[in-house]
């Protein structure tokens, strides 16, 4: 559970980002203009990730970069020229995303930043099931369960993207890697095993025509 600041003047987009990040359990603070953002940043409040739009009323994103200090910043903008990207990255931002973007990509990038800063969740609890993401161990009602390496990878992907449906292809890609040449049915098999071993039958949902979703 990370603390994230969203600075974006477009209300629908700001809200959208917040909703998506909230799904993964992050706490978000929304700000719509440069001036308020500066006040918030200078108040000494710490954030694990700052999502910053460049074109902001009052003070623009590049200016705000000076106030972000050590906090990791993910720049979000409609400017997609190479010079803008370079300017964004050289200004000290950790990452750069241009509009329009896919929410999955945004959450993936946020997760990556959290992983780098070691701010990602270390344990995760769902019902009677407790998962130690760091130690790679799983307990159901206090009793440790053995999972294969692949099963654990899959479980981790589901946890990191909880409440979001992931297609079989995407799961395969995320848990097995790009170069894995397996059938998507491999995913089905592993999902079935996970459900059974961890008593997550009613948590890992099959979404019609989409794939699977871990719901909390």
């Amino acid at each position: 559970m990370a603390k994230i600041l969203i600075v974006e003047d477009e209300e629908p987009i700001n809200r959208l980002i917040k909703q998506n990040l909230s799904l993964a359990g992050h706490v978000c603070e929304q700000i719509y203009d440069g001036k308020t953002a500066r006040e918030r940043l200078l108040s000494g409040e710490r954030y694990d990730v700052i999502i910053l739009d460049l074109m902001l009323p009052c003070i623009d994103g590049f200016e705000l970069m000076k106030d972000t200090g050590e906090m990791p910043v993910l720049i979000l903008t409609a400017r997609n020229k190479l010079t803008d990207k370079l300017a964004g990255l050289t200004s000290g931002a950790w990452d750069y995303l241009t509009k329009p973007f896919e929410m999955l990509e945004l959450t993936a990038r946020v997760n990556l930043i959290l992983k780098k800063t070691k701010k990602e969740e270390k344990t995760f609890r769902i019902g009677g099931t407790e998962i130690d993401l760091e130690g790679r161990r799983v307990f159901v009602n206090g009793e440790e369960k053995e999972l294969t390496r692949q099963e654990f990878e899959l479980l981790e992907v589901l946890i990191r993207n909880r409440n979001i449906a992931l297609s079989r292809d995407r799961l395969l890609e995320a848990a097995w890697g790009y170069d894995y040449e397996g059938d998507t049915r491999t995913v089905d098999v592993h999902i079935t095993k996970l459900r059974k071993k961890l008593a997550l039958e009613d948590r890992i949902k099959t979404v019609y025509k989409m794939g699977y979703r871990l719901e909390i």
Binding site: E10, P12, R15, P57
Partner: protein, 454 residues
């Protein structure tokens, strides 16, 4: 070969030819003059010898010794006397060819010039003649000396000329070289290069003109660049304006598809999608109409004020009611010239903005009056007003003073761009005056001059 080299060589060759010819002729003249003098001397001397001989012969005749052998011995004494000076003087029998008076000729045998003078003696000794001959060794020496001196002078002058001419050429052609360098720099795109040519000659004039040309080019290039940047800015803005709603639409659609959502969330996501789609549609429509306004021919007609105000009023009725703003219309004319469809759009835009700026219960005034050769319209509100800095940018596409509010009310940031385009199409002007917190007045002036006669 470079021009200066050509001129240099041509000048050098011509000068050398003329100089040497001149010197040669001068030498010849000097030689001839000397020769003539020698000739005269020789003739005088010969005449002198003749006279002496005649005198001697007369004495001989008086003494009765006028005999051939004595005559020759007398002559020989002269001969011997002149031998000392390397002159041969001989007494000869007069032949048919011997002229009575003087006959002189020079013979150039090899390197030696030989001068001979023959003179017949006068009566009563006309049977005899004196032949006077002289080798002109001295003249020969002078001649060769003159030749040598002239050759040396010619050579020296030639060498000197080579250098002096070269220096002059370099000097004369330096401006041209500078000019050339400058134009080359210009050709390479260095329009800031200033060619420095002093003086008042043609090249200096040319360089001044070229400098001016470069300045003009630079100015125009800058204007073009500015224009281009403006266009780029517009493109960037447009891209931004397109991407933003697209991001929302895509994002909410994704959210609906992948996330676990409640009914409420679904409704909200859908209304965002619809709202943003509408905005995109409106933006597309407006940009299309802007393009059309730009291309379409202006079609002027009689606009009936009553019809116009009623139409605009109808279009805005709902907005006015929502905001509880009253619209007062006072136009002191019945008809005027313009394109009705465009004018409806124009006033709708302006009044819509005025309403947006107004507070509840405010009044928006739409007035119009006929001036000399134009119609002057004003749309005034008593709303929040616009800051001076923002006034400058107000007609730029996608410029919004308060983005959030504009969006909330469905604006796309093109209204005033369209308005100013319509006014421009009419050949009129649009001006904005505003004071923060007091209100804004937009003045539109439409010329009528061109239409009154038709």
């Amino acid at each position: 070969m470079r021009i200066w080299q050509k001129i240099y060589i041509a000048a050098l060759v011509l000068f050398l030819v003329f100089m040497n010819t001149g010197m040669f002729l001068a030498a010849g003249l000097i030689f001839r003059y000397n020769l003539e003098r020698e000739m005269i001397t020789a003739q005088t001397e010969c005449f002198f010898v003749c006279q002496n001989l005649e005198h001697d012969f007369t004495i001989l005749k008086q003494n009765g010794r006028y005999q051939e052998d004595i005559i020759y011995s007398v002559a020989r004494s002269y001969e011997n006397y002149y031998k000392q000076s390397h002159i041969s003087v001989t007494l000869t029998k007069r032949t048919e060819e011997t002229e009575t008076i003087v006959k002189s000729e020079t013979k150039t045998g090899g390197e030696v010039i030989y001068l001979t003078v023959e003179k017949g003696l006068s009566e009563p000794f006309e049977d005899y003649a004196v032949s006077y001959g002289k080798e002109l060794t001295e003249l020969e020496e002078i001649w060769s000396m003159i030749k040598r001196i002239f050759a040396v002078i010619s050579l020296c002058l030639s060498v000197l000329l080579c250098f002096v001419l070269y220096a002059f050429m370099k000097r004369f052609f330096k401006p041209l070289n500078d000019l050339n360098k400058g134009v080359a720099a210009l050709a390479d795109g260095d329009y800031g290069y200033q060619i420095t040519c002093r003086g008042r000659n043609e090249i200096a004039e040319l360089s001044v003109h070229i400098n001016k040309m470069a300045e003009t080019i630079q100015r125009q290039m800058e204007a073009l660049k500015e224009e281009n940047e403006k266009k780029q800015q517009l493109m960037d803005n447009m891209a931004h304006e397109l991407r933003t709603p697209l991001t929302s639409i895509l994002g909410y659609a994704e959210y609906l598809q992948f996330a676990k959502t409640t009914k409420e969330e679904q409704h909200e996501a859908l209304s965002y999608i619809m709202g943003e789609s509408r905005r995109l549609a409106k933006m597309g429509e407006m940009m299309l109409s802007m393009n059309l306004y730009r291309q379409e021919e202006f079609f002027s007609e009689t606009v009936h004020v009553k019809k116009l105000t009623e139409h605009v009023g109808k279009l805005l009725a709902q907005k006015l009611e929502e905001k509880k703003v009253r619209l007062s219309v006072r136009i002191e004319a019945e008809t005027f010239w313009g394109e009705e469809v465009l004018l409806i759009n124009l006033f709708r835009n302006l009044i819509e903005n005025a309403v947006r700026a107004s507070k509840e219960g405010n009044m928006v005034e739409w007035t119009g009056r006929q001036a000399k050769e134009e119609m002057i319209f004003c749309v005034a509100d008593h709303g929040i007003g616009i800051e001076e800095e923002a006034l400058k940018h107000i007609t730029e596409p996608f410029y919004r003073i308060d983005k959030a509010r504009s969006r909330a009310e469905g604006g796309v940031g093109l209204g005033l761009s369209v308005a100013s385009l319509i006014v421009k199409k009419h050949g009129g002007t649009i001006a904005f005056a505003s004071e923060k917190g007091v209100g804004t007045t937009v003045t539109v002036t439409l010329p009528q001059r061109n239409f009154t006669t038709s």
